[in-house]
Point group: C2
Chain length 492, copies 2
């Protein structure tokens, strides 16, 4: 089993930009008009109070907020342009911003599937197995939220059990759901224990993150508002990602859907920065279009690629780190899942996304976490990471001596230049099978998906839990035990 080593990745290429600066500006201006004239519904009194305090025009009865452009400029003046997500293992810290790009796992899938067990509801066993798989895949930089959702764990203590699993089975950086403030406070304390640092250090060094979706069009509900407020209070990383399905929850035209998404994101940013100026925020783009026949979101389409690229343009206009996704609509980990994923990856990465959510494992529009898709995606992301490494042009790589040595009609297999380099010269695949048809047939003629099945099993068989100080482990378990005894964090 060959993998590239764990490595942080920078994208050295200029982004692809479908719109001109003027066109980006007109989307920005449309968003300002939306927030000033139409406003947004804010479904939490505490958030309404923060908006009023910040100077917005608030109607408590209608739960309605209008935000004039000066407040938006003020908020955007305090957002940091780059920050680091700290993991419990310092070698796993992940920078967001600049031309850094980091890859996460699928998050939020209610179901899980693999070739042997088929499709089934999310559960704790699979949740743990996929954490192990994510830990084992070097190309995965961080975890996204719950893949799959462990619905066999009582919701009041699910965050405790899930976070305990993340922190013990993996040493990569983690995610917290936002449903109630208590959940984020519990995550804060658990990560603090796992990192072995003080609360002050945690406040200075963001050590988990969350993703907040708005309720498009132009609504932010209680759990999301709790998330925005509490993540800012705790100075942890908030990724604001309006899910603006063009033609359904947003206009059918991409500029309109993006203007609305942007308005919603800006409202969330004003709230975040009003709670704590300087709180770290990532600008999330997630604007697929609805399939007018099935009502389903369409991923990896021409519109999706454009929206991923334009989202990056908006994020850069605000000097915010950018989040995009590796997504597809396929019902199976087949060729469709691969090409829709590849199209999404190119849109995301050439849009200069810093955080690639759902980087490995997403299937079926996000309804399923697929074991086999983890491996297919890991191969694609490894390929992109290696593609981002600069090509050195010098006397040694121009190889005139080797060309002279070999001469017309020869071959380079035995050349000194080749022998010195052949072990590390080229990308070694994780999944791709380059053998002849005859060799491949003799070995069972397995499709890429069938081979992916064997690979994740090998990775899980070889998995070893990352080291954790027994005292830290004890403190963590004691915390979970106590908080469980206290009833966890029931959804109100």
């Amino acid at each position: 089993m060959h993998q590239r080593p764990w490595r942080l990745t920078r994208n050295p290429y200029p982004p692809i930009e479908p719109l001109s600066a003027d066109e980006i500006e007109s989307i920005h201006q449309a968003s300002l008009t939306i927030l000033e004239e139409m406003g947004i519904r804010i479904m939490l009194p505490e958030a309404l109070a923060v908006f009023r305090q910040a100077g917005a025009d608030v109607d408590d009865g209608l739960q309605h907020v209008r935000i004039e452009r000066g407040l938006i400029d003020k908020a955007l003046a305090t957002t940091p342009t780059q920050f680091t997500l700290h993991a419990r293992n310092p070698e796993r810290h992940v920078p967001f911003g600049g031309n850094w790009t980091a890859f996460g796992t699928v998050g939020g899938a209610p179901n899980v599937s693999d070739l042997d067990g088929g499709r089934r509801p999310g559960n704790y066993r699979d949740f743990c197995e996929l954490i192990k798989l994510s830990q084992s895949l070097n190309v995965v930089h961080f975890h996204c939220g719950y893949a799959p959702e462990p619905i066999d764990i009582d919701v009041a203590i699910r965050h405790l059990v899930a976070t305990q699993a993340y922190l013990t089975l993996s040493d990569k950086a983690i995610f917290s759901f936002t449903f109630t403030p208590q959940r984020m406070q519990d995550t804060f304390e658990m990560v603090r224990i796992a990192r072995g640092v003080s609360a002050e250090t945690m406040m200075r060094e963001p050590s988990f993150y969350s993703i907040v979706n708005t309720n498009s069009p132009l609504v932010i509900d209680r759990p999301m508002l709790w998330g925005i407020i509490e993540m800012a209070r705790l100075n942890q990383i908030l990724c604001v990602t309006p899910f603006t399905l063009a033609g359904a929850m947003a206009p059918i035209t991409l500029p309109g859907a993006l203007a609305q998404a942007n308005a919603e994101a800006l409202a969330a940013i004003v709230l975040s920065q009003s709670v704590r100026p300087g709180a770290p925020v990532i600008y999330g783009g997630f604007t697929p279009n609805v399939d007018m026949r099935s009502g389903a979101p369409a991923f990896g389409t021409p519109e999706y690629i454009k929206s991923a690229l334009i989202g990056g343009q908006m994020a850069r206009r605000y000097r915010l780190p950018y989040r995009s996704s590796n997504v597809n609509s396929s019902n199976a980990p087949d060729a469709q899942s691969a090409y829709e994923g590849a199209m999404s990856i190119w849109g995301a990465l050439m849009g200069h996304c810093n955080m690639l959510a759902h980087g490995v494992g997403w299937l079926e529009g996000g309804l399923v976490a697929s074991y086999e898709k983890y491996i297919i995606d890991a191969e694609m992301l490894q390929t992109m990471a290696a593609f981002f490494e600069p090509e050195k042009v010098d006397e040694g790589t121009l190889a005139l001596d080797a060309i002279r040595e070999v001469g017309p009609g020869g071959h380079f297999f035995g050349a000194k230049h080749t022998l010195e380099r052949y072990e590390t010269a080229f990308y070694t695949p994780l999944l791709s099978d380059w053998r002849t048809y005859q060799q491949w047939s003799a070995d069972g003629a397995l499709s890429a998906t069938q081979r992916a099945n064997k690979i994740w099993k090998t990775l899980l068989a070889e998995y070893e839990p990352p080291a954790m100080d027994p005292a830290v482990r004890e403190e963590l378990d004691a915390f979970v035990e106590r908080r469980t005894r206290e009833g966890g964090a029931p959804i109100p």
Copy 2:
């Protein structure tokens, strides 16, 4: 069965450029050194004579030619930057150059496969079926050479029978193999008849093309030299594509492999322009790396993406149209074939290739033309073509009125703005299935590859041959009959 209409495609985005202008220049300079100091083996007396006449340093006994840089500058001064490949149907003409990008079929595959019949040697029946399929797929702009090779047709008359099939089953532009001058002369005459034009018009309006590979390292053999010379004499389009497999037929380092490829291409261009200054030439990039374990070429890898992009930089340095490919090493039309293909496509198209060879149908490193892969590739290429269409940002698409009409918490399904646009708003897939898991399962849970199988069968069932004047048909058939009686064009 929904397809995008036939449409010529322009790439509006700047190319991705892995190397700096200085680095491109150092590859160029290395190529000049190769041609000046090491030279190239030229295995045809007639070609040696042309090189000598042009001023090169020729050793007839060793069949060796050294070319000094002045001759290269002179040749590059006469190559046209843009030209059109004329089809027998004027609506199918294809421009090469600028930011035009056109998609061809797989060419040169010795075998063919589909899910029902499995893998089998190339034959005339499949050859004709795949011409029909290429004719039926709107995203295909032109034919590449023989997919699969109809090996059940005697080689002396194969070009006659194959060209007759191309010209009657399709009205898209075609390819000619170069093995002997007679073959190209026969193709010239057959295309002339099909177009109903004079030989003078044919000379003014290139109406077929060929691809010449060099015999790397630094050899050009007889059939290829015949091709370069004869295509220039006939003023038809020559695509020069050194097949420089890094680590095998070229240095193991990409800059060296590209310098050697470039030297071989420049030698061919000098020969072409010495025969006819101004003869149309396309610069072909094809530098995969060898897999050091299996000896097979690796496609869709990080190195492959880079070589496709850098090849484009070289072509632009010389103001030549650029050819790249949609290639993969997979033994089945599965997820690997899709993601390796997608990576190759992005490398090719963001390298600003004008001619995408092997655009649809390539499998198994080019050893197989796959019916199902035609459909998978058509979906990817349609996606890219639609992605290349500009996004309009104006009052209508910014949709502020619609956002105002719907308001917070509503939906856009019934909005006037949606109803006016929903029929044409978004890309409609050919292959992707966006239905729910339940709908998809109830319909047989077919993988993308299985659905592709149904789609090509439907396309072939619905195929209608393009119109051809009966008199033209008669003349064409008579030509083939006569040339067959004469013995065709035996390989000497």
